[in-house]
């Protein structure tokens, strides 16, 4: 899996490039190819490093866009309609910190927010 930075000047894009250079991995791709999906980083660093390493581990040809929205944590679900408007096909993966909440609480909050914008999981 390769990552296409949808905001190359953002901190996560810079961090992914930095870790790529450090470990001599080719993770980011600048090529304009159809995206198989988009990874939404809800919390930024160090999740960007995790995505970079996962991307390397899941080595393959598919290209996924990676974004870090302005809003954090569950707030990122507010921008899902914007992504759905432009992503012709493929999946959206949201990477979010669990922190002190249990998974069920997070899941029901995500469901509530998504249904509020007319989307279901």
């Amino acid at each position: 899996m390769k990552l296409y930075p949808l905001s190359p000047t953002s901190k996560p894009a810079v961090n992914i490039e930095r870790i790529s250079r450090k470990f001599r991995l080719k993770i980011l791709t600048p090529e304009h190819t159809p995206l198989a999906g988009i990874i939404v980083l809800a919390d930024g660093t160090p999740d960007d490093y995790v995505v970079a390493l996962l991307s390397y581990r899941l080595n393959g040809e598919k290209v996924l866009g990676v974004v870090k929205p302005e809003e954090k944590r569950l707030g990122v679900f507010n921008i899902i309609p914007t992504i759905l408007n432009v992503l012709r096909e493929g999946k959206i993966a949201v990477l979010i910190d669990q922190e002190n909440e249990d998974l069920n609480t997070i899941f029901s909050e995500v469901s509530r927010r998504l249904s509020g914008i007319g989307t279901i999981i």
Binding site: S10, H32, G65, P69, T82, V86
Partner: protein, 278 residues
């Protein structure tokens, strides 16, 4: 246009064709349901220019009869045009690579320019944007008696235009030339080049005033900051187009400022969102 592409002593309009090799280049658009095109047909060393208006003279290219409005050349810059009616009159193209040519124009037309009162006005405008305070522009002898265009400071000093920051130079030349040409269509390539945010704000206001007078302003930029500022000040009249040229095919998508802002909030920079938007 030719001068923006000239490389060493290689000139001409071959750059219009994909990889310099294709036989035809065509620009199409649809306005109010009506289709328009501008076509460049190559027959080395000639390039025949035809439009959807069917104006001009008849000529044969290969086995095909065409009506062409003008002729360009793949290897030289001479441009014979039969009529200007087929094209928009008085179009002004600016790019930072053409600023030096602007100097020559100012030099050759100084008598006309100096009496328009535009130099004083532009000098004062520039003063508001830089630390130096200028009152006028002059052409005077410099070292060795050779002429130079100078900005005249409030303290009575002269500074050659070429010694000012490139943003200031671009601003002065653009403003003065615009006042002389009063074009119907104003094109500016890489408008953000050399401008600090203060100057960018100032030219954004200027563009809005130009548009309010019924003129058209078409700008290209790689700067999201510039696009947001200019479109923001331009309001409803401003349109943003994301463009790309891939393998000889030019694509464009119209975006509103709100769409650009929303995408930015989502972490998507429209300048690299080609896989999603085009």
């Amino acid at each position: 246009m030719h001068l923006m592409h000239e490389t060493l002593n290689s000139e001409g309009y071959a750059f219009l064709f994909n990889r310099y090799a294709s036989k035809e280049a065509r620009v199409e658009c649809k306005v109010d349901g009506e289709e328009y095109f501008l076509q460049f047909i190559r027959d080395d060393p000639h390039i025949y220019v035809s439009t959807s208006k069917g104006i001009g003279w008849q000529t044969k290219v290969g086995n095909k009869e065409i009506v062409c409005v003008g002729e360009l050349y793949t290897e030289k810059k001479h441009i014979p045009f039969s009529t200007q009616k087929a094209l928009i009159n008085n179009t002004f193209l600016l790019s930072s690579s053409l600023i030096r040519l602007g100097y020559n124009y100012l030099n050759n037309n100084w008598a006309l320019i100096v009496n328009l009162g535009v130099c004083k006005r532009v000098a004062e405008e520039v003063s508001a944007l830089s630390n130096e305070k200028y009152t006028d522009l002059t052409i005077e002898p410099f070292l060795g008696g050779r002429l130079s265009i100078n900005a005249y400071t409030r303290d009575g000093y002269r500074i050659r235009l070429g010694d000012l920051g490139e943003g200031v130079q671009n601003y002065i030349v653009a403003r003065v030339l615009y006042e002389i040409a009063e074009p119907e269509v104003f094109l500016w390539d890489d408008v953000e080049a050399h401008f600090n945010p203060k100057m960018l704000l100032s030219i954004s206001e200027w563009f809005s005033n130009v548009v309010d007078k019924g003129k058209q302003v078409i700008l290209t930029t790689h700067s999201l900051e510039a696009a947001r500022m200019i479109a923001g000040i331009g309001g409803e009249k401003a349109k943003i187009y994301l463009t790309s040229l891939n393998n000889g095919v030019f694509k464009a998508k119209e975006l509103t400022l709100k769409e650009v802002e929303d995408l930015l909030k989502a972490g998507i920079d429209v300048r690299v969102a080609e896989p999603l938007l085009l």
